[in-house]
Amino acid sequence: MIRSVRSLVLALAALLILAGCGTTAPADQGVRVALQFPPRAGYAFDADDGGLLTKLGVAEPLVGLDPQGSAVPGLATSWAREGDGRTWRFVLREGVVFHDGARLDSGAVVTALTSVLSRPTPPRSIADLGMRVEADGPGAVRVSTDAPDPVLPLRLSSGTTSVLSPAAYAAASSSGGQPSPQDTGTGPLRMTEIRGTQGATLLRHDGYWGPRAASSQVTVDYVTEPQTRELALRSGDVGFAEGLPETSRASLQADPDVTFSEYPSARTVLLQLNGSAAPFDDVRVRRAVTAALDRTALADQVLGGSAAPAADLFGPAVPYGMTTPPPDGDVPAAQALLAEAGYGPANPLRVRLWTFPNRPELPVLASAIAAQLEPAGIAVDITVGDYAAQEPELLAGRYDMFINSRSYLSDFPDPAGVLDSDYTCDGSYNIDRFCDPAFDATVAGLGALSDPAQRAEVFRAAAATLTANAVNVPLVHPQNTAAQRGVTGFTPDPLDLRPVLPTLAPTD
């Protein structure tokens, strides 16, 4: 018996060693990366997967973005507004070759955009505009909307409006499926293998019109668990990983073999307050909550520096975001405001705070907020539950407080859509139940503004109005993280809208 057990142990050890022999990657395998978000809809363009394809460097839209989020030439080299302002003409880049060898022309662009526009749920960037696309000769297209749209070029920077080879749409049409990005994009990397939500293999597209990809091959693994991404990076399985665990921040920063990057994200964690019912229909109570919270402590101590304290809706990721820190917590001021509103020891205030666990920092923040509000005289009961089940109650105004994590840019770098949906009287996601006709008029005025500087001024003013009315409490702006090990070339993109993988290369 002893001998058989010994044999078994030896066999297991041999298996481990043999299995390990197969793991050393050949030098010519390029870069392997662990990305946080897998495709959710089979790389469909009417979903956010179009944005993922842009990030991978596989597919491209007509318009590109510079690091500040301004429109720059992409598959179109120039564009201009025509006539009554409802039509834009885009001149296409010459010499663009799809991964399958077809050439880009106006027919391909019309096919691609018409295909995505005809879906039951077109992408947010171009939905409900009455958008039409027509060829203007082989080298240009005209894009029209029902009403003048000052940011149409920015809308067409969204990855969801990327253009695939006509063959992809023909195949989708005959199969009843959706166009596949496999060997049909125009980007610097060609998707040669799709492994579902597990990963993909990308090879350099030598016929690319712009700077060639830095690596001959990029192997993508979609890894949803942060700790697994970190361990894969540490073990050398991957050379680049994003969205690393907050708890590993310090050790990764200290690791001489790792280049760690931390950069702002266009996202805000908000404490939303139900302004349609007591007690938060009283602005004094909302201001009391704002005053009682120490947002710097939430960011630095509770979240260990993995987020920046938020002073307004927009943060340091965009030029119109506030970069100064919020005021410190002021409990006496909060108590005075509550007393003014009729709350105090004789009439204590007790509220329920909801949040959801999909973003692990939210329940942690909920506990910290309850602790910070208690000295001011606000007792908080916490409910952590499933967001999908909470949403109908939130939208119907049947809640007190809710911690939400919200990206203020959707598919393209302009927050007008979020201001409209979240803060106008008829907004479809107005959880705070804020309604101010003057604010609505300000947001509506964006429809006539095309100058980026003027739009930025409106965004600043809108955020200031929300802060002044204590519509909600912007708590923190989460920081994005990424790390490289044996790989160079990563450029942080706070907007999370630009290609990431084409510049990555092995250090040797």
């Binding site: 299995a19 469909a44 956010d48 947010r124």
Partner: protein, 310 residues
């Protein structure tokens, strides 16, 4: 035994039919609005336009009466068509079967390893109480039973993949990638099997039949292998079925920690996205597998212990 198998097999279709009602109803009891969840899954959008919701509701067939939806789904399932995923818009059947295949391989390897390690260790420990093997089995088993998979998995990765660099930390597809997930999944059942076999073996060793066998001149090893271990295996066999059934339905923790594309991970994502066709198909597979595993366990027990046949 054939009669037992046929009788049990005959029960599976009606049980599955009843299950299908529960499987169809359960995801609809999760709360939240399915269409909004699907839109959120596809586009991370929290602000779908009501017109868009209505269009998608129609496209997904959710605007029809629930009974009609159920009968359509059941009819499709009987024809082998498990529907189309709400999020990926690809056929559910192949995706679920592929994921179930991965989970099956993972579960089978883990069970085989657990039995290969746990049974001999348990027998060895019982053969020499308080010996080195017995103490090692007891203490090692206690650790393996106490440490959850979400701790053991990362620890193994830290030691074997990060520290020693012997094995990859994640993924699925090569033998090397299977080792750590299988070890993680096998630790608990191996420890449990060792304990069960040790306890059962110790008891059987005291039986008169064993003393008789030894008195007839049978060697200790042969006595152990022929007369003791098979009888001690009864409880292990009883536990193996539920383990296999549960793990075939998806070892969610191990699949997430090691990025293994199994059924557990697929189902967890589908529940989050309210992808009803995937949830329904996945649950049907899980229930069917559990029923078959229970049947296999029963047959194995009948084969091992003739007394049960009466």
């Amino acid at each position: 035994m054939l009669g037992v198998a046929l009788r049990r097999l005959a029960w599976i279709p009606p049980v599955l039919l009843v299950t299908s009602v529960a499987v169809f109803a359960l995801p609809r009891l999760l709360g939240g609005e399915v269409t909004r969840s699907v839109i959120r899954a596809r586009s991370a959008s929290s602000t779908p336009d009501p017109a868009v919701e209505e269009r998608l509701n129609r496209e997904l067939g959710l605007d029809r009466p629930v009974v009609t939806q159920y009968l359509d789904w059941l009819g499709g399932a009987l024809r082998g068509d498990l529907g189309t995923s709400f999020t990926t818009r690809s056929p559910v059947g192949p995706a679920v079967l592929e994921a179930a295949g991965v989970s099956a391989v993972l579960a089978a390897l883990a069970l085989a390893l657990a039995l290969a390690v746990g049974v001999p260790l348990g027998a060895l420990a019982a053969g020499r109480p308080e010996g080195a093997a017995d103490r090692a089995t007891r203490w090692g088993g206690a650790v393996a039973l106490a440490v959850p998979e979400f701790v053991l998995g990362p620890v193994l990765v830290l030691v074997v993949a990060v520290g020693l660099g012997w094995l990859p930390a994640l993924g699925w597809g090569s033998p090397a990638q299977a080792v750590l997930p299988v070890l993680t999944l096998a630790a608990f059942p191996a420890a449990l099997a060792a304990r069960l076999v040790r306890a059962e073996t110790a008891e059987v060793l005291g039986h008169a039949s064993v003393r008789t066998a030894r008195a007839k001149g049978l060697s200790p090893r042969r006595t152990l292998l022929v007369h003791v271990v098979p009888r001690a295996l009864t409880s292990v066999t009883a536990g193996a079925g539920p383990f296999l059934g549960g793990t075939l339905g998806g070892a969610v923790v191990v699949e997430v920690v090691f990025a293994v594309p199994g059924l557990g991970r697929l189902l967890a994502e589908a529940v989050e996205d309210r992808d009803l066709p995937v949830i329904q198909a996945g649950l049907v597979v899980v229930v069917a597998v559990a029923l078959l595993a229970a049947l296999a366990t029963e047959l194995a027990q009948l084969a091992a212990d003739p007394r049960l046949r009466s």
